[in-house]
C-alpha cells in the first residue's frame, strides 16, 4: 500500500451552540468534535468507531463540509477544504462522497432510481446527452448489482439492501476518490449486511477508492478496515493498525470496548471489562481525560490534565496518562 496521504485532518473542531432564553443567546456548546487529528492514506480504509454521541458522524460530515467546521484544517489532495469558496467546494464534491446509514431517508422518495443515480451526472455535466447519461446510469447500476429493469421505479419499491445499493451507486456516479461511509450497514438485516460489505470491498478494488468507514459495530470495522480510529466524547483516544489495535489495545476505553462485544461463539469466554455508568454529556464533558469517570485505571492526574494524543511507535496513536508513565 502506498503511504501517500489522501486526507489529513488537523485539530478539527465542531461545536454546536446551545441556545436558550428569550434572545436565543448561546449559553453553551456541544463539543461534538473537539480537536481531532488523523490522516487517511490513498487506497486504504480507516474505520472510525465509537458509541452513539461520540461525534463520529459529525466528524464525517464536517470533513465533507456538510457541516461547517468551527476550527481546524482539512487537507484533501493538497487543498485545504475549509478555504474553498462555495463554487470551488461544489466542484470538489466530485472527489468526495458519502453513503448514509438510513437507506430510507437518504433517497428522495419522489425521484426514480434513474434520476437519483443520474443527478450527480447532471450536476457535474458528466454526460453530453440523455443517451450517454442513461448508458452511464445503467453501467453504474450494473456495477452495484442492480438490473436496468429497476430504473423507472421509485425507492419505496425496494428492500433496504437494494436501497443501500442505490445510495452506493449515487456516490459512485461522480467517480470519487474518497467515500465516507456513515454506518452503511447498521440499518440492514444481518444476512444483507455481508452483501453490502462485500460490494464496498469489491468497489474499493475496482475503482481504487479510499474509505472512511464510520460504524459502531467493531466486528464489521475490524473486517473492512486497514487502520482503526476510536473516538470517545468528541476526542480520538486511539488510532492504530487494525491488527495492532485489536491485539494490543493501549487505551483503557478501547480495551473495554473490545471486551464488550458479544462473541458469536458460546464456548468463547472473554474477560469482560464492564464499564460503570453512562457516556457523559458532550455539553459539559469531564475535566482532564474525558474517560476518567468510567476508567477502571483512573489516577489523580487523569481528572486534572488532559492526556496528550501522541504516537507510541509505528503509527500507534493514543491519548492516555497510563502510557505516558510507562
Amino acid at each position: 500500500m502506498t503511504e501517500e496521504r489522501l486526507l489529513e485532518i488537523k485539530n478539527l473542531k465542531k461545536y454546536f451552540p446551545v441556545k436558550a432564553g428569550v434572545f436565543r443567546r448561546t449559553v453553551a456548546h456541544v463539543k461534538a468534535v473537539d480537536d481531532i487529528s488523523f490522516h487517511i492514506n490513498k487506497g486504504e480504509t480507516l474505520g472510525l468507531v465509537g458509541e452513539s454521541g461520540c461525534g463520529k458522524s459529525t466528524a464525517g460530515r464536517t470533513i465533507l463540509r456538510l457541516l461547517e467546521a468551527t476550527e481546524g484544517e482539512i487537507t484533501f489532495e493538497g487543498h485545504n477544504l475549509l478555504e474553498l469558496d462555495k463554487r470551488e467546494l461544489r466542484e470538489m464534491r466530485k472527489e468526495m462522497q458519502i453513503i448514509f446509514q438510513d437507506p430510507y431517508a437518504s433517497l428522495n422518495p419522489r425521484m426514480t432510481v434513474a434520476d437519483i443515480v443520474g443527478e450527480p451526472i447532471d450536476i457535474h455535466g458528466l454526460a453530453a446527452n440523455k443517451k450517454e447519461r442513461n448508458e452511464r446510469v445503467t453501467e453504474i447500476l450494473d456495477t452495484v448489482g442492480l438490473g436496468t429493469e429497476y430504473m423507472k421505479r421509485y425507492p419505496h419499491e425496494f428492500s433496504g439492501g437494494q436501497r443501500q445499493r442505490i445510495g452506493v451507486a449515487r456516490a459512485l456516479a461522480v467517480d470519487p476518490s474518497l467515500i465516507i461511509a456513515d454506518e452503511p450497514v447498521s440499518a440492514l438485516d444481518v444476512s444483507i449486511q455481508a452483501q453490502v460489505i462485500n460490494l464496498l470491498q469489491d468497489l474499493q478494488k475496482d475503482f481504487s477508492l479510499t474509505y472512511l468507514f464510520i460504524a459502531h459495530d467493531l466486528s464489521v470495522v475490524k473486517h473492512i478496515s486497514d487502520r482503526v480510529a476510536v473516538m470517545y466524547l468528541g476526542k480520538l483516544v486511539e488510532v492504530a493498525d487494525k491488527q495492532k489495535l485489536f491485539d494490543d489495545p493501549k487505551h483503557p476505553y478501547t480495551q473495554s470496548l473490545l471486551s464488550a462485544i458479544p462473541v458469536a461463539d458460546p464456548t468463547y469466554k472473554s474477560d469482560r471489562i464492564i464499564l460503570e455508568g453512562d457516556v457523559p454529556s458532550p455539553v459539559n464533558p469531564p475535566s482532564g481525560c474525558r474517560f476518567h469517570p468510567r476508567c477502571p485505571y483512573a489516577m489523580e492526574i487523569c481528572s486534572e490534565v488532559e492526556p496528550e494524543y501522541k504516537d507510541y511507535g509505528e503509527g500507534h496513536y493514543a491519548a492516555c496518562h497510563l502510557l505516558e508513565q510507562e
Binding site: 460530515r61 465533507l64 456538510l66 467546494l89 461544489r90 466542484e91 470538489m92 464534491r93 466530485k94 468526495m96 462522497q97 458519502i98 448514509f100 438510513d102 431517508a105 437518504s106 433517497l107 428522495n108 422518495p109 419522489r110 425521484m111 443527478e119 450527480p120 450536476i123 457535474h124 421509485y154 445510495g167 449515487r170 461522480v174
Partner: protein, 292 residues
C-alpha cells in the same frame, strides 16, 4: 406517492369526485356564459343589465328566471357572469399569494439565521393585522374596483402559506437525501426545486384548494361591505349586498324576497364547498397516517 396515483385516488374518492363535478359545473358555466346569458352590450359584459329602476326586487318570471334584485339587476345574469368573477378572483389571488408564500417560506426556512428572522418578523407584522379590516382599509385607499380588492387580498393573504411552507421545509431540510444532494455538489436552486419543493408542495396545494373557496367568500364580504366591485358588476358578493335591505320581506310575508338571497347564496356556498371537498379528499389521500 406520485401525481398520477394522487389523481387516480382523487377520482376514486366519492367525496372529491362530487367536489370535482361541482367545480366542473361552474367551469362550464363560466366558459359558456356568453351563450347562457347573452350580454346586452358585448363591450361590457360584466355589467348586469337592468330591467328598470324600481328599488323593489321582483320575483322570478319568464323573462328573469331568478327574478331581479334591488334596482332591477337581473339575478340570473349576475350569477352566471359572477362565476367568471369568482374564478378570476380565486385563481389570481390564491395563485399569487401562494406563490409569494411558498417563496418566502422556502427561503426563510432553507437559509435560516438572519434571513429567517427578518422574513418571519415581517410575516408576524402582517399576521397581526386583522385581515378583513386591513383589506378594507387598503381597498379604500386604492379605490373601489375588483383589481384593488385582489391586490388587498394578496397583500394580506400570503402569510399562512409562508408559515406552512416554512415548517414543511424545516422538516425536509434535515432529511438525509437533501444532505446527499448537497454532498453531490448540487446548487441551492437545484436542491430547493428538485428535493425540497417536490416533497413539501402537497400540503400547500391542499391549503390552496381550501383557500379558493374562502377567498371568494372574503371577496364577497368586501363587496357586501361596499368596498368591492363597482355597483352593477357581476359579482356574487355584490348580488348578496343588493339583498341587504330585503332579507326580511314585508309583514306577514317574511320570505317575500327569498330569491334575492338564495340564488347568490347557493352559488357561493356550492363553490366554496366544492373546493373544500377536493381539499379534504386531497389531505386524506396524502396523509400517510390516515392511509391504513
Amino acid at each position: 406517492m406520485e401525481w398520477q396515483e394522487v389523481l387516480i385516488n382523487l377520482l376514486r374518492n366519492k367525496i372529491s369526485l362530487l367536489g370535482i363535478f361541482i367545480i366542473l359545473f361552474f367551469v362550464i358555466i363560466a366558459v359558456f356564459a356568453p351563450w347562457i346569458a347573452p350580454p346586452a352590450s358585448p363591450r361590457d359584459p360584466y355589467m348586469i343589465p337592468r330591467a328598470g329602476w324600481s328599488p323593489q326586487p321582483k320575483p322570478p318570471n319568464e323573462e328573469h328566471i331568478f327574478g331581479t334584485s334591488e334596482n332591477q339587476y337581473d339575478i340570473f345574469y349576475g350569477i352566471i357572469w359572477g362565476t367568471r368573477t369568482a374564478f378570476r378572483v380565486g385563481l389570481i389571488v390564491v395563485g399569487i399569494s401562494t406563490f409569494i408564500g411558498i417563496t418566502i417560506g422556502t427561503i426563510s426556512a432553507f437559509y435560516g439565521g438572519m434571513v429567517d428572522e427578518v422574513m418571519m418578523r415581517v410575516t408576524d407584522i402582517f399576521l397581526s393585522m386583522p385581515f378583513l379590516v386591513a383589506a378594507i382599509v387598503l381597498t379604500t385607499i386604492l379605490g373601489k374596483g375588483l383589481d384593488n380588492v385582489m391586490i388587498a387580498l394578496v397583500t394580506f393573504g400570503w402569510m399562512s402559506t409562508a408559515r406552512l411552507m416554512r415548517s414543511q421545509v424545516l422538516e425536509i431540510k434535515t432529511e438525509e437525501f437533501v444532505e446527499a444532494a448537497e454532498a453531490l455538489g448540487a446548487s441551492d436552486m437545484r436542491i430547493i426545486m428538485r428535493h425540497v419543493l417536490l416533497n413539501t408542495i402537497f400540503p400547500v396545494v391542499i391549503n390552496a384548494s381550501m383557500r379558493m373557496g374562502s377567498i371568494v367568500i372574503t371577496a364577497s364580504s368586501l363587496s357586501f361591505l361596499g368596498v368591492g366591485a363597482p355597483t352593477g358588476y357581476a359579482d356574487w358578493g355584490q348580488m348578496i349586498s343588493f339583498s341587504r335591505n330585503w332579507i326580511l320581506g314585508t309583514q306577514g310575508n317574511a320570505l317575500q324576497f327569498w330569491y334575492t338571497v338564495v340564488f347568490p347564496g347557493v352559488a357561493i356556498t356550492l363553490f366554496c364547498l366544492s373546493w373544500n371537498l377536493v381539499g379534504d379528499a386531497f389531505r386524506d389521500i396524502l396523509d400517510p397516517k390516515l392511509q391504513n
